[in-house]
C-alpha cells in the first residue's frame, strides 16, 4: 500500500487530525495523507502549546523556574521538578538530606502511578471504552488527595526545592500511602479482568503498532515505549540517581513491540512503583528535609550539567549551563514525549486509521510536554 504511494497519489486525500480532535488529548495536529482508511503519510505538526519554557528558564532566577517545571508534563509534574532540582544541586554543589531524597522518590513514584493510571484510562477512551477511565480516575483521585495533602496542589505540584523539599511528610501521609498501596494492589485484578483479558481489547492491541527496537533507537524513544520493544533501558537502573540504588525493583520488559507490550509494561510498572513506595516508606529515615544554608539567591559556579531522570514517559533530561550569575546561561529540556512522538510518522505508514490511533494512544503523549 504505502510503497506505491506515488502511483495512487491521485486517490489520496488529506485529513487534518487535530489540533482539536478527541484522539490527540491536546493540541497536537497530524496531517494525514490517506488512501481510503490507510495512512500513506502522517506528518505531526507541533507547537500549538509552545510557551518558551527554555527561554523562561534563562531569564529568571533559578528558583523562579520551579513553578514552570510543573507545567511541562503536567500529568507527571514531579519528575520535571526532580530533574531540575537535581541538575541545579549538582551545579551548585548542594547535598540533599536523606529524608528529602526518600520523600522525593515516594512522591515521584506515586506520581508515576497516577500518570500510568491516567494513561490507562485515556488509552481505553482512544479505543472507545469509557468505563475504565472512570475506574482509573477513582484510584488516581486517591493519589492526588495524598499528594495534595503534602504539596498543596493536585496537578502542578511545585514541591521540590534546591536542597530538599518544601514540606515534610507526616504520619497521616505515610499511613495513607500504605493504605493506598494495599488498595491499588487489590484493584489490579480488576484491571486485569476488565481490560487486559478482554477479547476486543486484545484484538485491538496484539500485533498492532509494531515498533522495532531499532526504530526506537533511531528516534530516541525511551520509557515504556522502548521497554515495550524489548530494550531494558531505564534511567533508574542505567544511571542511578537519588536513592534508587538502595531499592529493589524490576524493570518490566516485553519483547512483542506492539501496543499490548507497551500496555503490559505500564501496568507492571504500576506494581513495581508500589513496591518501591513500600520499601521507601519502610526505610524512611528521620531528619531534616531541607539542606542547611541554601542561599536565597542561588548563584552556581560556572559550569555545565546534564541530568537525566526517568519520568513516567521516558527519560527526561535537563541541561543547564551556568555562567555564575543568578540566571542560567542556557537551559535545555529533553522531553520524552517529543522523541516518542517523532517515530509516529514512520511507524504509522501503511496502517489503518483506527490502528494508528491505537498506536498514538499507546505512546502516551502529553502535548504541552512536547511543545514546552
Amino acid at each position: 500500500m504505502s510503497t506505491d504511494a506515488q502511483a495512487i497519489h491521485h486517490e489520496s486525500f488529506i485529513v487534518n487530525l487535530g489540533p482539536q480532535h478527541p484522539a490527540t488529548h491536546g493540541v497536537l495536529r497530524i496531517k494525514l495523507t490517506m488512501d481510503g482508511e490507510y495512512i500513506l503519510d502522517a506528518e505531526p505538526i507541533i507547537g500549538y502549546g509552545h510557551r518558551m519554557h527554555e527561554k523562561m528558564g534563562e531569564n529568571r532566577a533559578y528558583a523562579k523556574f520551579l513553578p514552570n517545571t510543573g507545567r511541562m508534563d503536567y500529568v507527571a509534574a514531579l519528575f520535571n521538578g526532580h530533574g531540575y532540582v537535581c541538575a541545579v544541586e549538582r551545579l551548585a554543589g548542594l547535598t540533599v538530606p536523606e529524608r528529602a531524597e526518600y520523600i522525593r522518590v515516594i512522591t515521584c513514584e506515586l506520581n508515576r502511578v497516577a500518570s500510568h493510571l491516567l494513561w490507562l484510562g485515556a488509552f481505553l477512551v482512544d479505543l472507545g471504552g469509557f468505563t475504565p477511565l472512570l475506574y482509573c480516575f477513582d484510584d488516581r483521585e486517591k493519589i492526588l488527595d495524598l499528594l495534595e495533602s503534602v504539596t498543596g496542589a493536585r496537578l502542578t505540584f511545585c514541591y521540590f526545592r534546591f536542597g530538599g523539599v518544601c514540606n515534610d511528610i507526616d504520619d497521616t501521609f505515610v499511613n495513607g500511602t500504605r493504605d493506598f498501596v494495599k488498595l491499588l494492589r487489590s484493584r489490579m485484578p480488576l484491571y486485569h479482568d476488565f481490560v487486559s483479558t478482554n477479547i476486543i481489547f486484545r484484538k485491538r492491541c496484539e500485533g498492532i503498532g509494531l515498533l522495532s527496537a531499532d526504530t526506537c533507537r533511531r528516534y530516541g524513544a525511551t520509557g515504556p515505549v522502548l521497554r515495550g520493544s524489548g530494550v531494558a533501558y531505564d534511567v533508574r537502573k542505567q544511571e542511578p540517581y537519588s536513592i534508587y540504588p538502595k531499592l529493589d525493583f524490576k524493570i518490566p520488559v516485553y519483547p512483542e513491540c506492539d501496543c499490548m507490550a507497551r500496555y503490559r509494561v505500564r501496568v507492571d510498572e504500576i506494581v513495581e512503583s508500589l513496591r518501591i513506595i513500600e520499601q521507601a516508606l519502610d526505610q524512611l529515615p528521620a531528619g531534616p528535609v531541607m539542606a542547611p544554608k541554601v542561599p536565597k539567591i542561588l548563584k552556581p559556579a560556572k559550569g555545565d550539567c546534564y541530568f537525566n531522570v526517568e519520568s513516567a514517559r521516558g527519560s527526561f533530561g535537563i541541561r543547564i549551563v551556568s555562567d555564575g550569575s543568578e540566571n542560567a546561561y542556557r537551559l535545555k529540556l529533553r522531553s520524552p514525549c517529543f522523541s516518542n512522538m517523532s517515530l509516529f510518522q514512520e511507524a504509522s505508514r501503511g496502517m489503518l486509521l483506527a490502528d494508528a490511533l491505537a498506536l498514538l494512544g499507546s505512546l502516551d503523549l502529553v502535548i504541552p510536554d512536547m511543545d514546552r
Partner: protein
C-alpha cells in the same frame, strides 16, 4: 375497504406510536446516561427535576433552540433530507410491532419482512448524510456504515429465515401466538425445532447491535477516530433526529428480539400474559444494549467484518441447515 372507525383508530395509533417513539428516545437517552453513570460509580443527571427525570426535556429544548448550520460545501437538499430519511422508517416500523394480541396498529401478514425492508433505508440515509456533509470524517463514517450493515444484514436475515422456517409465518402476531404458554414454548428454548436456538438468539442480538450502530460496533460515529462520523456536520435538531432514530431503532431491534425469541407478551410462567410482559422483556433487552456499550472498547473495523464473515455467517448457515434437517426429520 376501510371504515371511518378503522381510519380514526389507525390515526390514533399513529399519534400514539410517534409519541411512544419520541418518549422512548428521550428516556432511553436518560437511561443511557443514568446507567452509564451507575456503572462508572457516578450519579448521572440529577439537577433537572427529581433524579434528573426532566433532563431529556431540557436536552430536547436545547437541541430545538440551536441553529441548524449549513456548512459551505454541503449538498443542501440531501443534507436536510438525511435526518428525515433516518427517522421516518424508524417510526413506520413501529406500526407492525404487536404489543399484545390486540394492541397492534396494523396487523400485517408480512410484518417481519416490512420491518427489515424499512430498516434497510437507515443505511441509505446514513450514507447520504455522510456524503452530503462534504466532510472527510463524515465520508469515512458513511463508507464504514455501508460495509458494516451489509456484513451484518446477512447473518441477521439468515437467522430470521431459519426462524421463519420453524414458525412458517411472517406475521408477528402469529409468531408470538405460537410461543404462548410459558417460557418453555418460546423460540429461544424450542430446542426440539433446532438445538441452536440460543446461539441464534445471540447472533440476532449481536447483529442487532451492529445494525443499530451501537457500541462496540459504533463505526459510524467512532468518536475517538472520526469525531462524530457521519453526523459531524449536523447541529441542532438535525443531529437530534439521528439521535432519536438511533434509540427508536434500538427499540425496534429489542421489540423484534422479544417477539421472535422471547415470546412477545407471553408470561414466562404461563400466567397473566399481556403487554406489560412485552414491555418488561423489551426494556430488559434495551438495558442490556446500554450495558454492553459501556462495558467494552470499540472493535476494530476489520475485526468487526471478520466477526461477521468468519463467525456469525458460518454459524448462521449451519443453523439454517440444521433447522431444515430437523424440520424434515421431526415432523
Amino acid at each position: 375497504m376501510y371504515s371511518l372507525g378503522d381510519i380514526v383508530r389507525l390515526l390514533l395509533y399513529l399519534v400514539g406510536l410517534i409519541g411512544f417513539g419520541a418518549f422512548n428516545a428521550a428516556y432511553l437517552s436518560l437511561l443511557e446516561r443514568k446507567q452509564s453513570a451507575w456503572m462508572q460509580l457516578r450519579r448521572g443527571p440529577t439537577e433537572v427535576g427529581p433524579w434528573g427525570l426532566i433532563q431529556p426535556v431540557a436536552d430536547g429544548l436545547k437541541l430545538l433552540s440551536k441553529q441548524i448550520l449549513l456548512p459551505r460545501d454541503v449538498n443542501v437538499p440531501l443534507f436536510l433530507l438525511a435526518p428525515i430519511m433516518v427517522v421516518v422508517p424508524a417510526i413506520v416500523s413501529l406500526v407492525t410491532i404487536p404489543f399484545s394480541e390486540t394492541l397492534v396498529a396494523h396487523r400485517y401478514n408480512l410484518g417481519l419482512l416490512m420491518i427489515f425492508s424499512f430498516g434497510a433505508i437507515n443505511i441509505f440515509a446514513l450514507l447520504i448524510a455522510g456524503w452530503a456533509s462534504a466532510n472527510k470524517y463524515a465520508s469515512i463514517g458513511a463508507v464504514r456504515v455501508v460495509a458494516q450493515n451489509i456484513a451484518y444484514e446477512v447473518p441477521m436475515l439468515l437467522v430470521v429465515i431459519a426462524l421463519v422456517m420453524v414458525t412458517s409465518s411472517f406475521d408477528l402476531v402469529e409468531i408470538v401466538k405460537q410461543q404462548g404458554g410459558g417460557c418453555w414454548h418460546w423460540n429461544l428454548l424450542k430446542l426440539g425445532a433446532n438445538p441452536m436456538m440460543p446461539a441464534s438468539f445471540l447472533i440476532f442480538f449481536i447483529c442487532m447491535l451492529a445494525e443499530t450502530n451501537r457500541a462496540p460496533f459504533d463505526m459510524v460515529e467512532a468518536e475517538s477516530e472520526l469525531i462524530a462520523g457521519a453526523f459531524t456536520e449536523y447541529s441542532g435538531m438535525g443531529f437530534g433526529l439521528f439521535f432519536i432514530a438511533e434509540y427508536v431503532n434500538i427499540l425496534i431491534g429489542c421489540s423484534l428480539a422479544t417477539i421472535l425469541f422471547l415470546g412477545g407478551w407471553d408470561c414466562p410462567f404461563g400466567l397473566f400474559p399481556g403487554p406489560h410482559w412485552f414491555l418488561i422483556k423489551m426494556y430488559a433487552l434495551c438495558f442490556t444494549v446500554v450495558w454492553v456499550r459501556w462495558s467494552f472498547p470499540r472493535t476494530q473495523f476489520y475485526g468487526l467484518l471478520n466477526l461477521s464473515w468468519k463467525i456469525l455467517i458460518p454459524l448462521a448457515l449451519v443453523n439454517l441447515l440444521l433447522t431444515a434437517v430437523m424440520l424434515k426429520l421431526v415432523p
